[in-house]
């Protein structure tokens, strides 16, 4: 069951970033993607917190994979994830209080982020620790990239800034809608469409050359 074929650690790592990007290809983890991408700082904090939880959960799940009972596995995954989410939540409250206030309920909600449970189920519960860890790093990078790609245009248009630093000229009008929930849906929709469009034209080019 463990190391018989399947993608190697390197493949897992690469796949998580672009080819199987959690947001753009798998449409997982939509809640933080829509809710905390109003500015880059919040988005990157969320990506970091999710990365920590995903890495720890994947490693621990992989370590205890021999003990898992099939009918209880989801429960065990959730408890493992909840443990690390609590740790992250406490750390944020202790050292980044403002950010923790801004993220509000979305940090505890990492527990129900499907992306993490899916990695535990698909990869960590069946693979060695090294593969599970590299998978977690790849997927986390993909998630961080996706959050940044949504947060950057929203903050740029809505606030004229990146990471809180004003980069656009003063005269530029602020597109308030981009900071509000409709802005999240519009940006995600357009970017998803764009990603699919690029993917299709790449596939077509590949088919044409073969």
């Amino acid at each position: 069951m463990a190391n018989d074929g399947g993608p190697t650690a390197g493949e897992r790592f690469i796949r998580g970033i672009i080819p199987e990007n959690p947001v753009y290809r798998q449409l997982l983890g939509m809640c933080p993607t829509l809710a905390v991408t109003g500015n880059l700082q919040a988005a990157m904090t969320m990506a970091g917190a999710t990365a920590f939880v995903l890495f720890c959960a994947n490693v621990l799940t992989s370590l205890i994979r021999g003990l898992l009972k099939p009918h209880l596995r989801i429960l065990v995954f959730t408890l493992v994830i909840a443990t690390f989410v609590t740790i992250v939540d406490r750390i944020l409250q202790a050292y980044l209080y403002q950010m923790s206030q801004q993220l509000g309920p979305y940090v505890p909600l990492i527990i129900v982020n499907c992306m993490i449970i899916s990695r535990c189920e698909i990869c960590a519960s069946k693979q060695s620790v090294f593969r599970a860890a590299s998978d977690a790093v790849g997927v986390s990078l993909g998630f961080a990239l996706a959050l940044a790609s949504i947060a950057a245009p929203r903050e740029l248009l809505g606030d004229g800034a990146l990471f809180g630093f004003a980069v656009m000229p003063e005269a530029m009008p602020q597109w308030v809608i981009m900071l509000l929930p409709p802005g999240a849906f519009i940006t995600l929709g357009l970017l998803l469409g764009g990603a699919n469009w690029i993917g299709q034209s790449l596939n077509r080019r590949k088919a044409a050359t073969e």
Binding site: P173, W175, V176, I177, M178, L180, P182, I186, G189, L190, G193
Partner: protein
């Protein structure tokens, strides 16, 4: 099993019938282009009044919106590898209606962003003309209204230093909400008040609307429903506040009600298909307009009313499927 076999052979022995989706009857002259041309002709009195009242403010907004809508249509069509369908004039109509629903004082980027959002998010992402759920002009207006609240809010309409007389006053509905003052009926009828460019003159909207109805480019059930619901609710509201200066007639002539009823709500793509459905659609818009005017935070509610009713159009279509000739078809279960 034997029964199924028999059915199978029966269906195979039937004559081949060509089945194609409607419409089956074509009329050479009834084209999208002709309908859009009718709307443009019907908009002529409104355009004239708006230019007469708002001068260069109106001209600037109209030219900008039409140019941007046509350009957006061309660009987005080319992105989808389609021939740009500018010649059916639908982008021009969207631009005109968007321009006439904006305040004259709105800066240039409001028109540009509104046009691009209206055509792009309102129409092209759904698959182009005929597939859009919402009225493109109203999507564009809602986008800029939330986006640039300071340039589109009730106070943005007024510019006391302007050389154009109408722009120096508050709009009639804002005046009513803030100070309780009413505007004379005659001025609401003729249109020399402040407001969105196309909404001020009830007379121009009625003239153009009548032309649309006579040409049957717009369904009469929609404006009838809107006016009936608004009028009825306005009478009820007046009965509850006897002695109020803002009467039911003010409600009917003021604000964007007539402009919305005749030009915005009658968009054939985003309104229901059946006559009964159209009437229900109109009633819904009229009722929502009155609710938003009386209880809402914004002074006027035509835009949100139209967008809300657009979203239930498929539901209305399903409710009001007409009965086929010869009675309903019995479904064997």
């Amino acid at each position: 099993m034997a029964e199924a076999e028999a059915k199978k052979t029966e269906s195979q022995s039937r004559p081949a019938l060509e089945v194609a989706p409607g419409p089956h009857v074509h009329h050479g002259a009834l084209t999208t282009r002709r309908m859009m041309l009718d709307v443009i002709i019907a908009l002529a009195p409104v355009l004239l009044v708006s230019v007469a009242v708002f001068r260069l403010y109106a001209l600037k907004q109209i030219v900008l919106c039409v140019a941007c809508c046509v350009a957006a249509e061309a660009v987005f069509d080319l992105m989808r590898h389609r021939r740009p369908k500018i010649d059916n004039l639908s982008a021009v109509v969207t631009g005109l209606i968007l321009a006439l629903s904006l305040p004259g004082t709105a800066p240039w980027y409001v028109a540009v962003v509104g046009s691009a959002a209206g055509i792009g998010l309102g129409k092209v992402v759904f698959g182009g003309l005929g597939h859009n759920i919402f009225n493109p002009a109203m999507v564009g207006r809602a986008f800029v209204m939330i986006c640039f609240a300071s340039a589109m809010g009730a106070t943005a309409y007024q510019d006391e230093t302007s050389a154009v007389h109408a722009v120096t006053q508050a709009t009639p509905l804002t005046q009513l909400e803030q100070t309780g003052e009413t505007t004379e009926l005659w001025r609401l009828f003729v249109g020399n008040t402040n407001g969105s460019l196309g909404e001020t003159s009830a007379l121009a909207c009625l003239l153009g609307g009548l032309y649309l109805l006579i040409r049957r480019s717009a369904a009469w059930q929609i404006p009838a429903g809107v006016l009936l619901a608004t009028g009825a609710l306005a009478v009820v509201q007046n009965a509850m506040n006897p002695g109020a200066d803002w009467t039911a007639a003010h409600h009917l002539l003021g604000g964007a009600l007539l402009f919305g009823a005749f030009y915005i709500a009658t968009d054939p793509v985003s309104s229901p298909l059946t006559p009964m459905g159209r009437f229900i659609f109109g009633l819904g818009i009229g009722a929502l307009v009155m609710l938003l005017r009386v209880f809402g935070g914004y002074p006027e509610g035509v835009m949100f009313a139209v967008l809300l009713m657009n979203s239930v159009t498929p539901l209305i279509n399903r409710w009001t499927i007409p009965r086929p000739v010869g009675g309903p078809v019995e479904r064997k279960t």
